[in-house]
Amino acid sequence: MDTPLLNDSDLHFLLYEFLDTEALLARPRYCEHSREVFDATLNTAKTIAEKYFANHNAKGDAHEPQFDGEKVSLIPETQAAWNAFAEAGFLAAHHDFDDGGLQMPEVILRTAMAYFTAANIATAGYGFLTIGAANLIHTFGSPEQKARFLPAMLDGRASGTMALTEPGQGSALADIKTSATPADDGSYRIRGNKMYISGGDHSLTENIIHLVLAKIAGAPAGAGGISLFIVPKFLVNDDGTLGARNDVALAGLLHKMGFRNTTSTVLNFGERDGAIGYLVGEPHQGLRYMFQMMNEARIGVGAGAAILGYQGFNYSLNYARQRPQGRLPSSRDATSPQVNIIEHADVRRLLLSQKAYAEGGLALCLYASSLVEDARTGATETARTNAFTLLDLITPVVKSWPSKYGLKANDNAIQVLGGAGYIREYPVEQYFRDNRLNPIHEGTEGIQGLDLLGRKVPQKNMAGYQLLRAAINATLDDARPFDSAHALAQTLATHLHAFDQTTQQLMARLAQTPDATLANATVYLDVFGRVLVSWLWLKQAVIASRQLDQHRTDLPDVEINFYRGKLQAARYYIEWELPEIMPQLALLDGANSRCFDMQDAWF
């Protein structure tokens, strides 16, 4: 039984009903595009994903990358996938026409990427990293750097990495040790060790462009002393051909729980005379630049987590429809046929929660992508600023909510399969293992909580928070004409009231007792996520209610069922999972300090 990749009807719904993606065609940047172009792009993504990515998802997991001391080898299907991805134009798609790109909107590309992720998240990683690294060079690199490095990264001859983490430093990058010494020719010599670097070595491409964080001697202490460097595996000549091997060595591969077909590397920079690196932009601004890439990468992580949740949901749903086991509690007839387990209410609970997490998570990430788009190409300065402010606020949640609940969805998929869920002969345990990375990389869940409560909510006098509340209030109003959606809106409104009060209290305490207040930041992050996702489910419920109200008689059955499913998932989430914030808010309101006060020695 193959797992279908996502759900075309849902993607269509999210793009064209939940979001107004067609409205982008009115923006000057997209006047060359059309709905047909968008749909054809998604079709190509799906075709390639089915043919070149899905074929080795399990195989890449069973045969992890090998390093023989000289060369890294991957299963050969990985190369075919990379080639198809690059040749179809996905590496270059979002760049300007003038730079050889296609000016494809962010949200369309994010949706196209969703197919690759669904088919094989580990192999898709190489493309993601390369797109992100090329974006960074494109935004902050000099014209000379762009001309030297970008063409190969856009056509697939070179891939990219982001090299931040070191053996000694992960969450706290301010204390990294990698150093950069100026050389006479204006370049730098980089020395230090980097760890966990995804795609740090492989032979899919003739070159690898590392984007490395390092400190220039004499730089100020802390985050304000970190600079960003381009450090290619092979130097690139003026005419684009490859030059000498740079002083970047693979110390070894790391052996992971999941995500195995993406190489995870330990890299040594400067074992000999120092790796040649080129400073990007201004000195000491590196972390700020890198954050631009990380903010996009964070939406990507959230999306990856939601999509793995989606795949587990798809598989377990099909399984539940076909697995006969037992009878309903009311059945007294031992000779009656067994029912398929989808008939059992508890199995439907497991499936409905997965639907709420997977579709809710994808909705969240596509909404965030639409904000990325609006921040860039929105019609007015205000529209652009507001989109940016709102996006900045919710980014920690966009990263962490799907990472937590996409994983929980996979847990529930395993449960639906019973024994079959636990064994490697079925795909769902791999989804779980792959997904377990997402709460860790790109800033752990704990770090996201601190970022949200400590920085994003208070910043600019809570401007982001006010924008979000206004947007939620607008949906509460939209729900009014429809009985079913209005009932949900009322439940949400009650919880919002409590949420607002707690947020105000926390803001007041933040300045006086920062440590004690931020001690419960992860709880606040979870509350925030539940509220945000409840809103997005309410939005979906409003659309579904409108369709069901206005077209009950002329819609085909499949569509009626689709909208009923949306409405039911919204009800489940808002009635079952939103109210769980009440005890969480009580912990926050009372500044409960059980964890904060716990002493090392008491363990």
């Binding site: 075309d8 059309s34 172009v37 054809a40 792009t41 040749e87 179809a88």
Partner: protein
């Protein structure tokens, strides 16, 4: 050399089509639509002939509702040069389709017409052959290999007993079988380029084709559900059941 390829808009092969409850047809409302897989193979073959320098122009034709433009655009993104839509809201039967194609063949005078051997909705397997008769052109159906050389096209055909190769004088008609090639996907730059390629729209009336239906549809019903298997004790019982219950021997 000019090649004409026919492309049909059909329900995507992944969609599980159900019969309408009243038996009047298949329920395809809002189903995902795609280019017929055999037509996709036809386009691919034409594009390969162009890449080899054999063909100079590829014209993609679709006959059907306005939305069939999407399938023409797909063909254009795969490498066809221009498109012609014969727009009609009636569901045409193979004969009417063949007559439309004949009218376009007269106008365009292609050297080769490539079609799918059948479309996966009607499964008729007639259009290519009918076009051959109407246009007086030789036909190589169920092609698994196509070679053009010296004013002839050699077509290897998949037939019951194996493979048969025929040599046809040009202009000729080829209908594709599954193993002819593996179609490419449309790259994103080519999708954008396809938007700018010319697409002309005509109607069957413009072509002087009478589209009246000649076949009466009586009923559409789902196939009978497969019954659960049973175990038999011995061969005698098997024969008995085949004879008297299944009535197949």
């Amino acid at each position: 050399m000019k090649i004409l390829v026919a492309v049909k808009r059909v329900v995507d092969y992944n969609v599980k089509v159900r019969a309408k409850a009243d038996g009047t047809g298949a329920d395809t409302a809002n189903a995902k639509m795609s280019i017929n897989p055999f037509c996709e193979i036809a386009v691919e073959e034409a594009v390969r002939l162009k890449e080899k320098g054999v063909a100079t122009e590829i014209v993609a034709i679709s006959i059907g509702a306005k939305q069939s433009q999407e399938q023409i655009r797909t063909a254009l993104a795969l490498g066809a040069d221009r498109g012609i839509l014969v727009e009609t809201d009636t569901d045409l039967e193979p004969l009417a389709v063949a007559k439309c194609l004949k009218a376009i063949v007269d106008k365009e005078t292609p050297d080769l017409v490539i079609l799918g051997k059948q479309s996966i909705d009607g499964d008729n397997n007639q259009t290519g052959q009918m076009l051959g008769a109407l246009a007086g052109m030789p036909q190589g159906t169920f092609a698994s290999e196509v070679n053009v050389a010296e004013g002839k096209v050699k077509v290897t055909r998949e037939i019951d007993g194996g493979l048969q190769t025929v040599a046809l004088n040009l202009p000729a008609i080829v209908t594709t079988d599954l193993r002819l090639n593996e179609p490419r996907y449309a790259s994103l730059p080519n999708i954008m380029k396809a938007k700018k390629k010319p697409l002309e729209t005509v109607t069957p009336a413009d072509l002087g084709v009478d589209t009246a239906t000649r076949v009466k549809l009586l009923k559409v019903a789902p196939p009978a559900e497969r019954q659960a298997g049973i175990k038999v004790a011995d061969v005698a019982e098997l024969v008995e059941k085949l004879k008297n219950e299944a009535k197949v021997i």
